[in-house]
């Protein structure tokens, strides 16, 4: 079953790669004339097309691109003439670092808040946690970011810009990226927390929860041991969705804090019409989405004894 799911994930990625390739084919304009600009002559254009392999039929170009991508060779950036793998390498690391940082903050907070607000349903705590989380998710990211800059950076507590170089230590790095990570945490916590709360409350009317009550168990034990294990599947899926968002959707936050991540690279590449980079980054984003959801599905399966232990 898990193998089928993995095979499906790979198949899906293949389809996504086709879509990415096809979509960039649809973009107007010709790469060679873009590159040459005003200086184009018919002869230079033809030569460049030949050099870039643009005269090959689309399936051949697709195959060359995909087989290169699979070995980590995304080709050469058309704008800077540097290998795309080099461009992406460091930035991918930064993006993953920031995503993990935000996840390490937000997932425990969201789960704890969700469990506690389910436990103390309709209490003041529940209402405050819900209102706070909804407030944070309703505000645009850049607004949250600027508020944090106003409160925490203007007062000198944390830096408002992230300057990372190879000599930065882990401690400094965590300190410098705290504000972007906190911004992202505020943005994604609400979704996970509310799903945790809803999934648990949804189960609280089950006969087996009543049975647990009638066995004289404490409310906390009932929620943690009897409701939570059965609520894991939806929670895991929402966590995975938000992790994928943390990797692919952080452009605005990267811009505000001048953080050298993939999002900014993608935006720059689009405005420069650097098609090869756009394709590469899009493929990485798609892989992150498909991969994280795949992991979520596998974990959900593992958390369900009905699927793990056949009759």
């Amino acid at each position: 079953m898990i193998l089928t799911r993995v095979a499906l994930g790979i198949g899906l990625l293949f389809v996504v790669s086709l879509v990415i390739f096809w979509a960039t084919e649809l973009l107007p304009g010709d790469l060679a004339s873009q590159l040459l600009g005003q200086s184009a002559t018919p002869e230079t254009l033809a030569a460049l097309r030949e050099q870039l392999g643009l005269n090959d039929p689309a399936p051949v170009r697709y195959w060359n691109w995909l087989s290169g991508a699979l070995t980590g060779d995304f080709g050469v950036s058309l704008a800077t003439n540097r290998p795309i793998a080099d461009l992406i390498g460091a930035r991918l690391g930064n993006t993953v670092f920031l995503a993990l940082y935000a996840a390490a903050l937000s997932v425990p907070i969201a789960l704890t808040l969700g469990i506690l607000s389910a436990l103390w349903r309709n209490s003041i705590f529940d209402r405050a946690a819900n209102a706070g989380a909804l407030g944070a998710i309703s505000l645009p990211e850049f607004f949250v970011a600027y508020i944090l800059v106003l409160w925490l950076a203007q007062t000198g507590l944390f830096p408002s810009m992230v300057r990372i170089n190879p000599t930065t230590t882990m401690g400094e790095r965590l300190y410098m990226t705290f504000l972007p990570a906190l911004t992202l945490t505020l943005v994604v916590t609400a979704h996970m927390m509310r799903m945790t709360r809803a999934a648990i409350i949804n189960l609280m009317a089950s006969p087996y929860i009543e049975m647990a009550r009638l066995k004289g168990l404490s409310p906390l034990r009932i929620v943690l041991r009897h409701a939570l294990p059965n609520a894991l599947a939806p929670i895991i899926n929402v966590v995975a969705l938000n992790l994928a968002y943390l990797i692919t959707g952080v452009v605005v936050v990267e811009v505000v804090f001048v953080y050298p991540g993939l999002g900014q690279l993608m935006v720059d590449a689009v405005s420069n019409r650097d098609i090869a980079v756009v394709q590469a980054v899009a493929l990485i984003f798609a892989t992150a989405y498909v991969g994280l959801n795949l992991i979520a599905d596998v974990l959900s399966t593992l958390s369900n004894p009905r699927l793990m232990h056949r009759r």
Partner: protein, 538 residues
């Protein structure tokens, strides 16, 4: 009953919420239980049996609140004491066994973990001791493989075994009192006996007091010392079991007996040519074979009961006849010509001839549609009725099922009682003007008095309209009441078939014998006698 008093409930009042209003659902019930005594609590659904049973644990479900009276358990006033102290009693000194063990065991944990949870958190014994103890109790409850069964998950264990495992779990802390809330209602008759006997024995072995809640008099007669009858939150009467069975005082109690005596007159005419002929049908869900070589004939204007335990293939046979599940072999003939196996390839007229009524009227009716649409749609689809003609037809149908058209035509299913919903299911089937109606456990979810009303209605409609019924049920009493012919199924095969008189008269097929002898009788010595006879036969 000279033992000292364990539980004393006086003038118990409980309110239930519907919408924003609270109304009294238990209206001043008194109850006294001595140590080691078993009290049967009976009544139809809505009588407040479960609510009273839970109140004996100082517990009220969400949407209920205890508003008056005293609940005194072994000298402790459960209404006055703290929630923490009530928690200390629950599971330890007062335990609960729920109706559906399959739903009441947590699907995420092994049986033995759920067993050990109570004793360990209440500090009665350590985990290792609890595991040893669980195996001992599983053995006493006559579960197969007592050493291993606890290490399985609930979905890996059958319903009857789960119910016994749950009784063992309730026994874990050796409580003074156990509340059994319809513990055998969801089980097949043959399984019911085993569970009932196991419960009765273990309660006697440990001298545990019990409140046994059920709607089935014959069941409670086997287990209870005394019986209390409830109706709409009030006590009707209470007496020693034998005294009550011999001479019920109140009319309501007598009516509970009378339901079982309903029977349609025997038919003397010979059956005509087969309306539906099922010939050598085999079917499977995926690779799991469910039916094997099933053959029988259904005759026009007659009722054929299909009986058997759950999993015997009764409903699957219905699915093959309706075309929902194309068979892997065999054919279904309708009035002599074969029906296409799949639903999609049947003509509208072929579809119209066979209609279904389902067990759960609640889930079989779209809650957002008014009765006008629910009943009108098949009349519109199959018969092309429109406008006034359609409305007139819907009104006729409502009158036919004994619901006042003006009052009901614009109601939603949520505004009906369980019996009324089932009547709508019948009207919807009738709207298509079918020749055959398949009734799949249509009375199983209803109280006995409501059941009787539905059976009488179905019988009347048959006489007036010449309908044929295929009546799927596991309730032998219903079969006795209305069937003309009987098919007995076991593990996907037909093991016995014929006219009712022939099936119910000895000599029986062995499995038919087992089914018939498992139906509880209104005799407190029935279970003991049956078990002795079966033991004697080996």
């Amino acid at each position: 009953m000279s033992g000292d008093i364990l539980l004393k409930i006086e003038d118990l009042r409980i309110e239930g919420r519907s919408g924003d209003t609270w109304s009294e659902i238990v209206k001043g019930v008194d109850l006294t239980l001595h140590r080691g005594e078993v009290l049967g609590l009976i009544g139809e659904s809505g009588a407040g049996k479960s609510t009273v049973g839970l109140a004996a644990m100082g517990y009220a479900r969400d949407g209920c609140r205890i508003t008056g009276g005293t609940i005194e358990f072994d000298g402790i006033d459960l209404r006055r004491t703290s929630e923490a102290q009530r928690r200390g009693l629950r599971g330890k000194r007062i335990a609960y066994v729920a109706q559906s063990a399959a739903a009441s065991f947590n699907p995420a944990h092994r049986l033995i973990d759920q067993y050990a949870e109570g004793p360990v958190t209440h500090g009665v014994m350590g985990r290792d001791k609890a595991e040893e103890d669980a195996i001992e109790l599983y053995r006493r409850m006559q579960l197969p493989d007592p050493e291993g069964i606890g290490f399985r998950y609930p979905h890996q264990v059958s319903g009857g075994q789960l119910q016994r495992a749950m009784t063992a779990m309730a026994m874990a802390c050796r409580p003074d009192l156990i509340i059994f809330d319809e513990p055998t209602t969801a089980l097949d008759v043959t399984t019911q006996i085993e569970v009932l006997a196991a419960i009765r024995d273990i309660v006697r072995q440990f001298d545990t007091a019990a409140i046994y809640i059920t709607h089935d008099l014959a069941v409670v007669a086997q287990a209870a010392d005394r019986i209390k009858v409830l109706l709409r939150g009030e006590e009707v009467e209470e007496a020693e079991t034998r005294a009550m069975l011999a001479a019920p005082r109140e009319d309501y109690t007598k009516s509970l007996w009378a339901v079982r005596s309903f029977a349609r007159p025997e038919r003397t005419d010979s059956p005509g040519a087969a309306l539906v002929s099922v010939q050598g049908v085999s079917a499977a869900y995926g690779k799991v074979p469910v039916l094997e070589d099933v053959s029988f004939d259904l005759h026009p204007g007659r009722t054929m009961a299909v009986v058997g335990e759950s999993g015997s293939g009764k409903s699957t046979t219905a699915r093959v006849i309706t075309g929902l599940l194309p068979p892997s072999a065999g054919t279904v003939l309708f009035e002599g010509s074969p029906l296409p196996p799949a639903l999609k390839s049947r003509t509208r007229d072929q579809l119209r001839q066979v209609q279904m009524i389902y067990q759960m009227a609640d889930t079989a009716l779209n809650p957002k549609l008014r009765l006008r649409e629910l009943i009108g749609r098949p009349a519109q689809m199959y018969l092309g009725l429109r406008g006034r003609a359609l409305e007139a037809r819907v009104r006729d149908l409502l009158a036919l099922i004994e619901l006042e058209p003006d009052t009901y035509i614009d109601r939603l299913p949520g505004e009906l009682s369980g019996g009324q919903k089932q009547r709508i299911g019948i009207a919807r089937a009738l709207a298509a003007e079918p020749k055959l109606i398949i009734c799949d456990e249509v009375t199983s979810a209803l109280d006995q008095i409501v059941q009787e009303g539905i059976l009488k209605l179905l019988t009347r409609l048959q006489d007036e309209l010449g309908l044929s019924y295929m009546f799927i049920t596991h309730d032998i009493a219903t079969v006795r009441a209305i069937a003309d012919d009987v098919v007995v199924m076991q593990k996907g095969r037909v093991v016995d078939k014929g006219p009712k008189a022939q099936i119910f008269a000895p000599p029986h097929e062995p499995y038919t014998e087992l089914l018939l002898s498992s139906v509880p009788e209104m005799d407190p010595d029935w279970l003991t006698g049956l078990l002795e006879r079966r033991a004697a036969q080996g």
